[in-house]
């Protein structure tokens, strides 16, 4: 038996994680002890402060980590510049995401069910709604998720990574189920996410087991006195050194677990359904932050392994590379091709997110550590465009008008006048006239996602494809460009609808034809294919009409959208400062 030695802990290096996760714990206490009225404000302030504080610590740590990466808590947390950069991006994106979450808009209600545990359509639900309950637990949940993501991106220990994976996933499963409207769809999405996530976690941990079996350790780099997988491979001291198939299988399974979170084909199937079903602000948070964490973790695992096997067994390198290449090609193809036939904005953005996973993997597939800084830039550019875009989606709503009830003077409240988001693309027609600024911002996000020059997306894509070319995979870069072209088509289609098509309800006040919509605020129909398995559509039976309206933000979402839009332009026009920053971050091994 070895004597227990208290590890020396570099508290400053852990500070970002501690602040965010600690604030999450405090948030739980807030739920218990702060009176209901003040709870929401307290939670929002606490959450934003925690994320800002976390980012502050990251900024403080940055020069130190760039100079000398550290391993903390006996090697459980490995802070490389790349990991810290990912943490910083997660903190920024989470901050923006929380702003969107916190906005109650001019309708006075946020996107979350009064009591998420109530069975949809029951009187209990009605009661909760009337008494004005609010589900403020979402804020601590967001913090736990964000903290998990930050840890996920900055560990070398596969078991810690697994724990982080669960810490980030479990709150997200719950958050997905909390939508105020279309609650069945929301709960279905959460269930799907949970089941498939559990499946992916199982594959991941199985992979970890195989790696442990091969190398006798679950750390990749390890510490100087206890070498990790890399060291074991290089020194040839692995317990099962001859059976490199174990290593390959283990790494592949771990990779699959990560690719699931990245949303890469063929592990993407959950993405459209979950993105559609989850409350839209959560979708934005999830789409942006999870992708950052997952891609960062994927890059770290793959590149560390590649450092280990490169010299000893280049075949394993080739296997890994070919897997990533195949997945990248499939992901780009599926994301763009299926994305181009979508009729729902949220689903379209979901497929767009899949396509972006593919573009990111193109950059990763080059296996050139030098250019992975461009992956961070890509994640940042994609993340701000995504949060901004979903932020816009939260503000475009359906509004039910009952003839003879004094249409526009009717109270804009919980009584069903303003309904859920209008996510059918056809409903977005003419949005450019109703809300020019909002449409402008959305157009900017779409252009950035399409990779049009002078937006952040262009610089990002350029970097990613350069990464592939520098790794000798120029044909993959060509495929990526072709896929981008197809993707441009569907982004532009949406733009054309918003700006050049006449709204269905024009001229001005009255709308011409009724639009199908959910019959109540709780259940709800959707024409998206993912929902048809369990849901049936209810038709509007009365002469009520539904028009599309843009609700006003109460501030936070508007700030988030504006910041995202400005950042998209700045990163596109003057990317050098940020590029210089991420340039320092292409280091994976302490």
């Amino acid at each position: 038996m070895t004597e227990f030695v208290a590890p020396e802990i570099d508290w400053l290096a852990l500070a970002p994680l501690i602040v965010v996760l600690g604030a999450g714990v405090v948030g739980v206490l807030v739920e218990a002890f702060v009176p209901a009225k003040a709870r929401r404000v307290t939670q929002i302030v606490l959450t934003l402060a925690a994320l800002a504080g976390g980012f502050g610590f990251i900024a403080v740590l940055w020069p130190q980590i760039v100079a000398q990466p550290v391993q903390v808590v006996g090697g459980s947390v490995t802070l490389t510049p790349f990991a810290l950069g990912a943490q910083g991006i997660i903190a920024v994106l989470a901050f923006l995401g929380v702003l969107v979450v916190a906005d109650r808009t001019s309708t006075g209600q946020d996107s979350f069910a009064p009591t998420a545990s109530a069975v949809p359509g029951t009187s209990y639900e009605d009661l909760a709604r009337r008494s004005g309950l609010e589900q403020t637990e979402i804020y601590p949940l967001l913090l736990f998720a964000a903290g998990g993501m930050m840890l996920f991106a900055s560990t070398d220990d596969l078991i810690v990574m697994f724990i982080a994976l669960e810490v980030l996933s479990l709150p997200l499963y719950v958050l997905c189920a909390t939508a105020r409207r279309r609650r069945l769809l929301s709960q279905e999405a959460a269930a799907k996410y949970f089941l498939l996530g559990a499946f992916a976690s199982a594959l991941f941990i199985f992979g970890v087991a195989l790696i442990y079996g091969f190398a006798g350790t679950v750390r990749l780099i390890g510490t100087p006195d206890k070498p990790g997988v890399i060291g074991v491979i290089q020194s040839g001291t692995a317990p099962l050194a001859g059976m490199s198939v174990l290593l390959v299988a283990g790494v592949l399974l771990v990779t699959v677990g990560l690719l699931f979170k990245v949303g890469a084909v063929p592990f993407h199937a959950w993405t459209p359904d979950v993105y559609t079903g989850a409350p839209t602000p959560i979708t934005g948070f999830m789409a942006a932050c999870t992708k950052v964490a997952a891609v960062a973790a994927l890059v770290e695992v793959l590149y560390r392994i590649s450092i280990g096997v490169q010299a000893v067994d280049p075949e394993i390198m080739r296997q890994l590379q070919i897997v990533i290449v195949v997945v990248a090609v499939l992901t780009m193809a599926v994301g763009t091709v299926i994305g181009s036939v979508q009729t729902d904005v949220k689903r379209l953005l979901a497929y767009s997110s899949i396509a972006h996973a593919g573009f990111l993997l193109v950059g990763v597939a080059g296996f050139n550590p030098q250019v992975q800084s461009s992956t961070l830039f890509y994640l940042l550019a994609y993340g701000i465009a995504t949060i901004g875009a979903f932020g816009v989606v939260t503000l475009v709503r359906e509004r039910r008008i009952t003839p003879g009830s004094g249409e526009d003077n009717g109270p804009v409240g919980d009584d069903g006048v303003v309904l859920g988001e209008a996510t059918e693309i056809a409903q977005w027609a003419g949005l450019g006239r109703k809300a020019p600024w909002l449409t402008g911002a959305f157009a900017l996000f779409l252009l950035s996602m399409a990779g049009i020059p002078l937006t952040a997306g262009f610089i990002a894509k350029f970097g990613a494809f350069s990464g592939a070319v520098s790794g000798g995979l120029w044909w993959l870069a060509v495929l990526g460009v072709l896929a981008s072209v197809v993707a441009v088509a569907f982004y532009l289609r949406l733009l054309v609808v918003m700006v050049f098509q006449r709204a269905q309800d024009e001229p001005e006040t009255s709308q011409v034809e009724p639009v199908e919509t959910g019959g109540s605020t709780t259940g709800g129909g959707s024409t998206s294919e993912g929902a048809t398995a369990t849901l049936t559509k209810t038709q509007v039976t009365t002469a009520q009409r539904v028009v599309v309206t843009v609700v006003r933000s109460r501030g936070p979402a508007a700030v988030a959208i504006a910041v995202c839009a400005i950042a998209t332009v700045i990163l596109g026009v003057f990317p050098s400062p940020v590029l210089d920053l991420v340039e320092q971050a292409s280091k994976f091994v302490p």
């Binding site: 089941l195 992916a200 390959v248 063929p266 199937a269 459209p272 296997q319 299926i338 993912g530």
Partner: protein, 647 residues
């Protein structure tokens, strides 16, 4: 000078900000927008004046300053710094553009008074001033090109300004398009010239290219390359300055509001080609062939414009032809080497004043006569428009080159320079000298014709209900300023060679040669033919009665009326073949390329529709998909290793 150099960017900045406010501000700025435009231009003039006065205080060697602003772009081997070059040449232009520009801004306040889009008009004018100043202040060909395109854009927007709501709207739009397209041909020349410079020198900044052309640098430019660059630059200059063979757009450009014709299509923008030639002097000097072509182009255009001018009845078109011809003089001078540069710019300056004055005068006449432009319907206006009459009279004497009016000092310099002998080619001095003198005679004829058809004659040939009167003071004060300039500027700057000395640090010192004829003989001959030309015109158009309908005229007259068939020639030689090719390409594009490409979206949609069925919504099938995916990936990885191992 370094303490005020920081002001230099504001030369461009003020009008640019003005343009931005006026064009983006929308209707909110309608009420005061035109005064903002005047203010922006005037502010720029004040800055120019401060810089100018400081520059005069410097010793000549220190008058040229390159003011670096920031690194504009760095791509591959090309680094372009954004910077301004302040030297006597650019400052001359700055003073011309801002001073005349401000006068024309003021004039326009009254002239465009009833136009519903006056604010937009001033926005475009400010945009033009900003672009023109960028053009002349640039310290590299690339930045010059930005200004070059900017003035082209402003010109296009202003020629087509009245493209709605008027009977002539369609023609205005066509005229704008014509100017735009012909200018693009010239712009290709500038782009090609920059490409050649980059390949030869690796830079497009004046500071690198010009010394290299002069053979100062380590890597010089070979004569062949210099000739190519020179000819490309000449093409650019021909487009912008309406020189043969790209002259056809200028006459139609008169469709724009008259202040625009005065500022852009007489005083400033159209002379940008001359600026380009003089600025690129070292390149031309390294390429004698290109120089000769420049001179020939100048001579041809000089006569071309003059001949066309004799037959035009439209007052603005006659002035446009005159502009073309006068720029021909400048071009000719610019092709003569250092001996000619200073006089090219000097004539450009005096011409800027008297031609702007003549145009504004024409605008004043049109204003008085209800937008009538046909000189056959004018006559006897001197009594009704005394100020216009006198100021235009000063301009008339100036353009004729009668001493001591402005034109004499500059034009005479050009004629003398044209008579300078060229080594080994004795014919040149005689040919070009004679052309210059002949041009002066024709100029005298058509300008006298214009002047007396408008103001002379006892019997007015007006249409009904005409009550001509002077416009508001806002219109005639600028006329007065320009009239004074037309009268005195030449003498002030010309006597004692002040202006030539001023430009010497830029264009270099010209070694003095004796012309092939003694100078007094040249001056006398010129004056004699000028007076002769004027007298003939006086006899035909002041003494004899002018018919209200144009007589059929001789073959030459009919040809000149139709601009010597320039449009017919362009249509037959360029437009029709180009249309043929375009039609071919269109058919090819539509039936082959488009049809081919439309397969792609169809295929994408089809695949999308098929694959979206996989998105069934059932967790079980998703999970099966994941498991299948793991297997497929494992198999692929295994196959790769297997096959790779077999190799």
């Amino acid at each position: 000078m370094n303490d005020v150099i920081g002001l230099a960017p504001w030369l461009v900045g003020f009008p640019l900000i003005g343009a931005a406010i006026l064009l983006l501000g929308g209707k909110a700025t309608d009420r005061w927008g035109h005064w903002l435009g005047v203010l922006a231009s005037a502010a720029s003039a004040v800055v120019g004046f401060i810089l100018m006065s400081r520059m005069i205080g410097q010793v000549p060697e220190e008058r040229a300053i390159d003011h670096h602003l920031w690194t504009w772009l760095s791509a591959g081997g090309l680094d372009v710094d954004l910077g301004l070059r302040l030297d006597p040449l650019s400052m001359t232009f700055v003073m011309l553009v801002t001073f005349v520009g401000t006068l024309i801004h003021v004039y326009s306040v009254a002239y465009m008074d009833h136009d519903p889009h006056r604010r937009r008009f001033f926005g475009y004018l400010n945009l033009f001033v900003a672009a023109m100043l960028t053009l002349v202040l640039a310290d590299s060909y690339l930045l010059l090109f930005v200004g070059w395109e900017g003035v082209g854009l402003a010109s296009y927007l202003l020629i087509g300004f009245w493209d709605t709501g008027r009977p002539s709207a369609r023609e205005n739009a066509v005229a704008a398009k014509k100017a735009f397209v012909m200018n693009r041909i010239g712009d290709m020349g500038l782009i090609a010239a920059m490409a050649l410079m980059f390949s030869a020198v690796g830079s497009v900044s004046f500071a690198d290219v010009l010394p290299a052309a002069a053979g100062d640098g380590a890597e010089g430019i070979s004569p062949a390359i210099a000739t190519a660059i020179g000819l490309c630059l000449l093409l650019a200059a021909c487009g912008k300055s309406a020189q043969f063979p790209l002259q056809a757009w200028l006459g139609d450009a008169m469709a724009g509001p008259t202040p625009v014709s005065a500022l852009i299509h007489a005083a400033t923008m159209v002379t940008a080609g001359v600026y380009l030639m003089v600025r690129s002097g070292p390149i031309l000097e390294a390429a004698p062939t290109a120089q000769l072509v420049v001179v020939i182009v100048g001579a041809v255009t000089l006569l071309f414009g003059a001949v066309v001018g004799t037959a035009k009845d439209d007052i603005k078109k006659a002035l446009a032809a005159s502009t073309m011809s006068q720029i021909g003089y400048m071009m000719l001078a610019a092709g003569l080497g250092p001996a000619g540069y200073a006089f090219a710019i000097f004539h450009l300056l005096t011409h800027g004043f008297f031609k702007a004055g003549l145009f504004l005068g024409a605008g004043s006449v049109m204003h008085a006569m209800g937008d009538q432009t046909d000189m056959r319907r004018f006559g006897g206006l001197s009594r009704f428009l005394p100020i216009t009459w006198i100021t235009m009279g000063l301009g008339w004497l100036a353009i004729l080159g009668i001493p001591p009016f402005s034109g004499f000092w500059s034009k005479d310099g050009i004629i003398e320079a044209a008579f300078m002998p060229v080594e080994g080619q004795p014919w040149r001095a005689w040919v070009f000298g004679s052309v210059a003198v002949l041009g002066a005679a024709i100029t005298a004829f058509y300008m006298t014709r214009l002047f007396f058809m408008t103001f002379g004659g006892r019997r007015p040939r007006w249409t009904e209900n005409q009550h001509p009167h002077e416009g508001s003071p806002l219109m005639w004060w600028p006329l007065v300023f320009l009239g004074v300039g037309s009268a005195a500027l030449g003498a002030v700057l010309g006597i004692g060679g002040t202006f030539t000395t001023w430009l010497e640090p830029v264009v270099g010192h010209a070694e003095h040669h004796e012309p092939v004829l003694p100078v007094p003989v040249i001056i006398t001959t010129t004056l004699v033919v000028v007076v002769l030309g004027a007298l003939i015109a006086f006899r035909m158009y002041a003494v004899q009665l002018v018919p209200e309908e144009a007589p059929r005229g001789s073959v030459l007259t009919r040809a000149a009326r139709r601009d010597l068939y320039q449009d017919a020639a362009n249509e037959t030689l360029v437009m029709k073949p180009a249309f043929g090719v375009a039609r071919l390409v269109q058919v090819g594009d539509r039936d082959v390329v488009d049809r081919g490409w439309s397969v792609l979206p169809q295929a994408v949609s089809w695949f999308g529709a098929v694959f979206r069925r996989a998105q069934s919504g059932y967790v079980r099938s998703y999970a099966a998909g994941m498991a299948g995916g793991v297997l497929v990936i494992a198999v692929v990885a295994w196959l790769v290793v297997g096959l790779g191992g077999a190799q």
